[in-house]
């Protein structure tokens, strides 16, 4: 099962992960009139605050993408189309835009607001279609999409292993875009069955028992408290 451990004490809110994600996954630039509610950012860095008065006021950044929930995946249980499936081998919650009818029930169900709706057809400036990633299929309007731990890269790793006659992929070949881009290497991606998250790691909204596969770490207690309660839109 693949998972991530994100060290929040190393996140500077630079946004490199967000840009790398958009480049990798053929996410189009904002349509005219897009806002933080209607834009598509599979990876989104939120700004969190401890709410204390000055001089104790502190800010931190939370990079949040689909938390790849475990057994009780809220989105999988509500989809009328069976367009979402949790992959048995990798643990990735796979969203199939081709099967999606755009009811957005999953968006309501997701406690992490990690799902994004294509309000518009994707449009790239002239010529930019030549820079699209051939390993990822673009989506049309009217369907929901979300982080899939860069499945395109997983496929490429499988392909490379198969070319050498192997069934197991080389872990070094499968690195999601955000993990690769982070300048402080705040995001760690690995098989969390083989290398479990550090003992001081915590999940977001753990009380919901979504058994999410994205863990966070921080020495700051206010951040750990926030992870239990949830953070609002900045």
């Amino acid at each position: 099962m693949y998972g991530m451990v994100i060290d929040l004490d190393r996140c500077t809110g630079c946004g490199a992960c967000m840009m790398a994600c958009a480049v990798e996954n053929n996410v189009p630039p904002a349509h005219e009139g897009a806002t933080p509610r209607t834009g598509i950012t599979w990876m989104r860095v939120y700004r969190a605050n401890n709410g204390a008065p000055f001089p104790e006021n502190r800010t931190a950044f939370f990079p949040i993408m689909c938390q790849q929930c475990g057994d009780h995946t809220p989105c999988v249980s509500v989809c009328p189309q069976n367009a979402i499936e949790t992959d048995a081998e990798t643990g990735i919650v796979d969203q199939m835009p081709q099967r999606c009818l755009g009811c957005r029930y999953c968006m309501a169900a997701c406690p992490y607001h990690a799902r994004y709706f294509n309000w518009w057809d994707p449009e790239w400036p002239a010529g930019m279609e030549k820079s699209l990633n051939p390993e990822v299929s673009p989506r049309m309007r009217g369907v929901v999409e979300k982080c899939n731990f860069c499945s395109g890269r997983y496929h490429a790793a499988k392909l490379k292993a198969a070319a050498a006659g192997k069934r197991e992929i080389n872990p070094a070949d499968y690195v999601p875009a955000c993990v690769e881009a982070c300048p402080t290497q705040a995001i760690s991606f690995r098989d969390i069955d083989k290398e479990p998250p550090e003992p001081d790691s915590f999940q977001l909204l753990a009380k919901l028992e979504t058994k999410s596969k994205v863990y966070f770490r921080s020495q700051r207690q206010w951040i750990r408290d926030l992870a239990e309660k949830g953070i609002g839109h900045a």
Binding site: R10, C11, T12, G13, C14, G15, A16, M18, M19, A20, C21, A22, V23, N26, V27, P29, A30, A34, T35, P36, G39, I40, T41, R44, V45, R47, N49, G51, P53, F54, P55, N57, R58, T59, F61, Q98, D121, W124, P125, A126, G127, M128, E129, K130, S131, L132, N133, P134, V136, P138, R139, M140, E180, A181, P183, T184, Q185, A186, H233, A234
Partner: protein
């Protein structure tokens, strides 16, 4: 037999029943569904041979190494330790509002000034030569890239650019407001060592910048900051504004000439081009080469140079805040479209020269600033520089190949620090937050689509400050500093320190001269 209407109906009925017994209705439904799934109006992904190209990023002076994954010769992904702008650097060429049209005539009159927004390139030498050919001035923005080292070099009586920072061995980096954990120096020299804890960062800054919130220690007050800082040797001090008094603290710290501190750095084997001094209001035609946009254009500085009725001509690959201020805009190549070069990155300990190969197979615009200027020189009967940019880059590559400089060890015991200017305090302090420039079409992810970086029309302040100024959310505020003024829309934010105003600038600013300035503000 007379065929009646009923017979026709019977034939039709038979036809319908027959059709139901054929595959046609189901095939039609199926095929229509498949057709609707074709999404033929969505561009297909590129098909073709996959190759890699290696190059260097030219978006800022750090010159990070890039490996580009290409399909059918077009870059689709950039790998490397790249920043938010760098990972999408190959998309800048596709900016939706690229400058493409060349104006028929550009009136060149009076004294010429050429402002180089991307100094320390082969292009810079050529722009300086063009300025000479015009009998004009080669100009630059105040150099903030290596501010501390420049100040120290001046204090030590050494040539500017002759000092470097041995970041590979530093244990504590004390920063007075410099964004050392953001895009500063060469991030790959700082961030990996900071991540493992080998390098500690002490940030001395009044406001909680991204560096301050992540730093090992954050001190808000500059007074006696060093006494409160937890230092592990070797330590070194940098200052965002390059104040001599702060730079000189390195001498007391014993950081000069020591491993992990300030070291001597060899110059490059060609003459360093310096900005000319331009008398106030002496420039009648100002050319601005904005093909590399990593530094803010400080408009108060520009305004100081411009004569009344001056013409502003901007060379830019795409529309921006700067092109809106120009009378004429001329098209130039975007990043990664042509061969470019990167000289020694800021704070580097060694001299280096990197040649950046283009990533795009063919440029949308193949001109550079010097091409336009050469044409204008020839049109006015003057002699343009004889060497082209690619030729000069090649010459410099060859010079570097055989360059074996000897670098003497630095030593200094005291420097004379001129008395520092006391900055006038103000009722408010303005912080200019530098945000990623809007070159890539995908940069909307960080602005419109998430609000990670505040939009430029806003000013953020603590609710107390807003109350004191008598403004509420979305009110318009007129902010004035000694350099200029600007109007912004108010956004109360308890994360901003009371008494401070924070604005975002991406390419041109009316206000800034460093990060924190005294300001006045009022409704309107």
């Amino acid at each position: 037999m007379i065929i009646e209407r009923r017979d026709i109906i019977r034939i039709a009925a038979g036809g319908v029943c027959g059709t139901m017994l054929t595959p046609v209705p189901w095939r039609l439904l199926d095929d229509s569904a498949k057709w609707s799934q074709n999404w033929s109006w969505i561009p297909p992904v590129p098909r073709g041979e996959r190759t890699t190209k290696e190059s260097y990023c030219t978006l800022c002076p750090a010159g990070c190494a890039i490996r580009a994954a290409c399909v059918a010769n077009h870059p689709v992904r950039l790998d490397g330790a790249l920043c938010a702008s760098g990972v999408a650097g190959h998309t800048v060429a596709y900016h939706p509002r690229r400058i493409l049209a060349v104006p028929k005539t550009v009136p060149v009159h009076g004294r010429i000034g050429i402002l180089d927004m991307g100094p320390r390139r082969a292009m810079s030498t050529l722009l300086a030569q063009a300025a000479d050919a015009f009998g004009g001035a080669y100009l630059r923005m105040p150099d903030r890239d290596e501010a501390t080292l420049v100040a120290l070099a001046d204090l030590m009586g050494r040539p500017r650019g002759s000092l470097g920072l041995d970041l590979e061995h530093t244990r504590t980096l004390v920063s007075f407001g410099a964004p050392v954990l953001e895009r500063w120096a060469s991030p790959s020299r700082v961030l990996p060592r900071w991540r493992t804890g080998e390098l500690r960062v002490v940030q001395i800054e009044a406001v909680e910048s991204r560096t301050a919130l992540a730093a090992n220690q954050w001190i808000t007050d500059e007074a006696d900051a060093l006494k409160r800082a937890k230092l592990e040797e070797p330590a070194v001090i940098v200052d965002a504004e390059g104040r001599p008094s702060i730079a000189a603290m390195n001498v007391d710290l014993g950081a000069i000439g020591r491993e992990g501190g300030i070291v001597a750095r060899a110059p490059l084997p060609w003459r360093r081009v310096e900005s000319a001094a331009a008398a106030p209001h002496s420039i009648d035609t100002l050319f601005i080469d904005a093909s590399r946009a990593h530094q803010l254009v400080e408009w108060p500085v520009v305004r100081q140079w411009l004569a009344s009725d001056a013409t502003i001509v901007v060379f830019a690959p795409h529309e921006s805040g700067l092109t809106k201020k120009a009378h004429y805009v001329l098209p130039v190549a975007a990043p990664f479209e042509l061969v470019e070069d990167v000289e020694t990155p800021p704070y580097s300990a060694v001299a280096s020269y990197q040649v950046s190969q283009p990533l795009h197979p063919a440029p949308v615009v193949k001109f550079t600033a010097i091409d336009h200027l050469n044409a204008m020189l020839q049109a006015s009967g003057r002699v343009p520089p004889s060497v082209s940019a690619p030729e000069m880059i090649k010459q410099r590559q060859e010079l570097m190949a055989s360059y074996r400089p000897k670098v003497a060890r630095l030593s200094v015991t005291t420097v004379n620090v001129p008395p520092s200017e006391v900055e006038a305090g103000g009722e408010l302090l303005l912080v200019v937050a530098r945000a990623p420039d809007r070159g890539s079409p995908l940069i909307t992810k960080l602005y419109e689509e998430s609000g990670l970086f505040a939009p430029e029309h806003l000013v953020r302040m603590h609710p107390e400050t807003a109350a004191r100024l008598g403004v509420g959310s979305k009110a318009t505020l007129l902010i004035e500093t000694q350099h200029g003024l600007t109007r912004r829309s108010v956004l109360p934010d308890p994360a901003i320190r009371p008494g401070f105003l924070e604005i975002t600038e991406t390419d041109v600013t009316e206000l800034c001269a460093g990060r924190v300035t005294a300001a006045k503000a009022r409704k309107g």
